[in-house]
């Protein structure tokens, strides 16, 4: 039962964080704040990309995974297509794992 209470609490906290700016007057953000939030997407993407490539487990990690990631990045840069980029990265990973013992 206490597991369910914790789960309900987690659900409430998560939902309030997602909904508050949309259903309360916080949504009427001032111009200055809105201008800063314009740069949130590139900042968030970079924050999601860099550690996930270089330090997926919290410590710097090179090797096959990183090289496969680089292959994916190049494919992404050239094609700007998410499926192509993902497939290039995963195929590179599989091939490199097979080639590099």
């Amino acid at each position: 039962m206490s597991h369910w209470l914790v789960i309900a609490g987690m659900a409430a906290i998560t939902y309030v964080l997602r909904a508050a700016p949309l259903v309360t007057s916080w949504g009427q953000v001032e111009a200055g704040v809105a201008r800063h939030l314009r740069h949130l997407p590139p900042a968030l993407f970079a924050a999601l990309i860099v550690p996930a490539l270089l330090a997926p487990a919290g410590t710097l990690e090179g090797g096959v995974r990183l090289w496969a990631g680089v292959v994916g990045l190049v494919a992404g840069w050239r094609t700007r297509s998410i499926p192509v980029t993902i497939i290039a990265g995963l195929v590179a990973y599989a091939v490199l794992r097979w080639v590099v013992p």
């Binding site: 914790v6 789960i7 997602r18 800063h36 900042a43 924050a47 550690p51 995974r65 993902i86």
Partner: protein, 235 residues
């Protein structure tokens, strides 16, 4: 807004998010295995995915349950890990103002990193928000399917999942980042956030790095705006 546009935007959002299933579903399965190992039963494990729908927070909660942490520690961790959701929703508040309050309350549940990433450019351009709903719903299904598969597999298996699949996320986000790099302030925001995120990831435990980098990068972009040549300011 006319209904047909809404429906086709929903379909587009749903289908264009399908490539991310490759990353989300295994992540859901891995969460489920962690949660089962931590002593949650099958219903609790799936129930958490159904009600919370936040990958890293659920993972953290599973680890804390396993370590015997108290309810308060788990709730505080949930708050910290998900605090960035406020930023995501706030950045969409203006374009979503055209929706009714109940509609916004519904959309809010479906705003996660990946659906935000896929949809933000369109929504900010003023497109029908059904795209965001379709994308979020698509990911929700993948997350629940993955969780359910993980529960089914949870008969003493550890570390399930082909390695390297987690590359799906940074690679997808990279493609989504590219269109933003046209202006100098945006490039500065991305560069500062990337460096901050890596440093914080190496130094600070948990998921603080996302919040630190998102705030730092966003502010850096704002500061760069002030010194940008007039031509670039509005883009």
């Amino acid at each position: 807004m006319d209904n047909r546009t809404g429906q086709s935007e929903f379909r587009d959002g749903f289908s264009q998010t399908v490539p991310l299933w490759m990353g989300v579903a295994p992540f859901g399965a891995a969460y489920a295995l962690a949660a089962r190992a931590a002593g949650l039963n099958a219903f609790e494990t799936i129930g958490m995915s159904l009600l919370v729908y936040a990958g890293s927070a659920q993972f953290a909660a599973a680890a804390l349950f396993a370590g015997g942490a108290g309810a308060l520690a788990i709730l505080v961790t949930t708050f910290i890990v998900n605090a960035r959701a406020v930023l995501l929703s706030a950045s969409l508040a203006t374009p979503l103002r055209r929706l009714s309050t109940p509609a916004r309350a519904g959309v809010a549940f479906l705003i996660v990193d990946e659906s935000y990433a896929i949809s933000v450019a369109r929504v900010l351009r003023g497109a029908d928000p059904s795209y965001l709903v379709g994308s979020g719903f698509s990911l929700y299904l993948a997350w629940l399917s993955g969780t359910t598969a993980g529960v089914a597999l949870s008969i003493g298996v550890n570390g399930w999942g082909p390695r390297g699949l987690d590359l799906v996320f940074p690679l997808s986000f990279f493609v989504l980042l590219l269109p933003y790099l046209g202006t100098r302030p945006a490039r500065i925001a991305a560069a500062v956030a990337g460096v901050l995120a890596l440093c914080a990831r190496l130094i600070v435990p948990g998921s603080w790095y996302l919040l630190i980098a998102a705030v730092g990068g966003t502010l850096a972009g704002g500061v760069a705006d002030l010194s940008a040549p007039p031509g670039e300011k509005r883009s």
